[in-house]
């Protein structure tokens, strides 16, 4: 019984320590290298189609995502089924303000829309367009971050700033979203892999050329 109690206490302590550990606790503030930030900042240009799969709470669905820069510098994101039915049509205006042009009832729920807004804002580089950029180093990586209310959006490069490694969104304590980017990255990334850490959601986008 005693041994069981010790084991239980150790386990609880581990969970407690891990729970209190911040994913960003080892970030060290560094001077912002504007040249580096400008070169590697994720900036979306043009129009791209992606074959997309979504895994959410054990369920899988797929479709096509169109990300299009409009002539007035706004941006539209449309998700359709492969057979052509439109599920949603979102927009970000020139100032990054988000709007829903259309969405089917099954998806028309605030938590879903908020989640997708954050995902698409992050992958199209909207937080980095106008916010004050700060920089930190951790290991052999540089984190460029822009504060957004209670969260920070990061684009993360290697130390010599030669490549963009990934994007993240997190609170002070916890990483909430990370985006892995294919070797052929911005301005039109070949593939994007969006992972959520606060609930089981993964969105994978693979670019294809229109016929």
């Amino acid at each position: 019984m005693n041994r069981l109690l010790i084991r239980y206490s150790l386990l609880s302590l581990c969970v407690l320590i891990h729970g209190c550990t911040s994913d960003y606790q080892f970030l060290k503030s560094v001077r912002v290298d504007n040249g580096c930030g400008r070169v590697t900042s994720p900036t979306w240009v043009g129009t791209s189609w992606y074959h997309t799969s979504v895994d959410v709470t054990g369920k899988h669905l797929s479709g096509l995502v169109l990300i299009k820069n409009m002539p007035d510098s706004s941006r539209r994101i449309v998700f359709t089924s492969e057979a052509g039915v439109t599920f949603f049509d979102f927009g970000f205006d020139q100032n990054g303000r988000f709007s829903v042009h259309s969405i089917i009832k099954k998806l028309d729920k605030k938590p879903i829309i908020n989640t997708l807004e954050k995902d698409f804002a992050l992958i199209t580089g909207i937080p980095f367009k106008s916010g004050d950029v700060q920089a930190w180093s951790m290991g052999n990586e540089i984190y460029f971050g822009v504060q957004q209310k209670k969260e920070t959006a990061y684009f993360i490069t290697n130390k010599d700033c030669s490549s963009l490694r990934r994007l993240e969104l997190g609170t002070k304590m916890k990483r909430k979203i990370s985006v892995r980017i294919a070797r052929n990255g911005y301005p039109l990334p070949d593939s994007l892999d969006i992972n959520h850490y606060t609930f089981p959601l993964r969105i994978q986008l693979i670019r294809f050329e229109k016929e």
Partner: protein
């Protein structure tokens, strides 16, 4: 009949006639070169009889999705198989790969990541969408309770314009227009008009009718 009653009656007749002629004009404007089929009851009977002669279809297909507000069009192509009754295989090959097999109530979906099996019975929306494609190609769409139908024709083609009845389908489609070849009663194209104005046109080309197709093609 007093003069005023007679006048009122005549004006009403004119108004009704005017409305009818207006409807006809709008129909012609909507589908130029087509006239409405008036005797729907006998048409349904004939359509049902003729359609049953199509036992299988193998064809290529081209799907064009137009996003009106974004002036964006995407074209995809692939192969299509149908076997009476209730079996369809759609295999997209360009510019992405995607497979749909419908066999009765069983549906298999295969994208670039995963294979998913769905039982249409357990999902009302899947069941309704699944039935549209099957009903369109096997000629049973006129019996569907999910739509009200208007029929138009010219010398070589029948147009079946279907308007969804249920709220669920209305959310996805304003109308679906099925174009049928009069010579063999096989589907030529399916046009899906969405409520926000986007359209998807699936056209069937190089059709081979009533050639044997192995059951394994539809194994979900």
């Amino acid at each position: 009949m007093s003069y005023s009653v007679h006048l009122r009656f005549s004006v009403t007749c004119l108004m009704v006639a005017g409305l009818v002629s207006h409807i006809d004009t709008s129909v012609y404007a909507q589908y130029p070169g087509y006239t409405p089929v008036r005797d729907i009851v006998s048409f349904k009977k004939q359509f049902s009889q003729e359609s049953t002669k199509v036992l299988s279809i193998t064809s290529e297909f081209t799907q064009e999705k137009t996003l009106m507000a974004l002036t964006e069009k995407i074209t995809s192509t692939g192969k299509f198989w149908f076997k009476r009754s209730n079996r369809v295989r759609l295999e997209y090959s360009k510019p992405f790969t995607y497979l749909v097999i419908m066999s009765g109530d069983r549906i298999l979906l295969r994208d670039h990541q995963k294979e998913t099996r769905v039982n249409a019975k357990s999902n009302k929306l899947f069941q309704q969408v699944n039935r549209i494609m099957i009903d369109c190609v096997q000629g049973t769409i006129l019996e569907s309770k999910d739509f009200t139908t208007r029929v138009f024709e010219n010398e070589i083609t029948l147009l079946l314009e279907m308007t969804p009845v249920s709220k669920t389908l209305k959310e996805f489609f304003k109308t679906i227009v099925l174009s049928v070849d009069k010579k063999d009663y096989s589907a030529k194209s399916i046009l899906m008009n969405e409520p926000m104005g986007d359209i998807t046109l699936i056209s069937f080309d190089h059709k081979k009718l009533n050639e044997p197709i192995a059951d394994t093609v539809f194994a979900p």
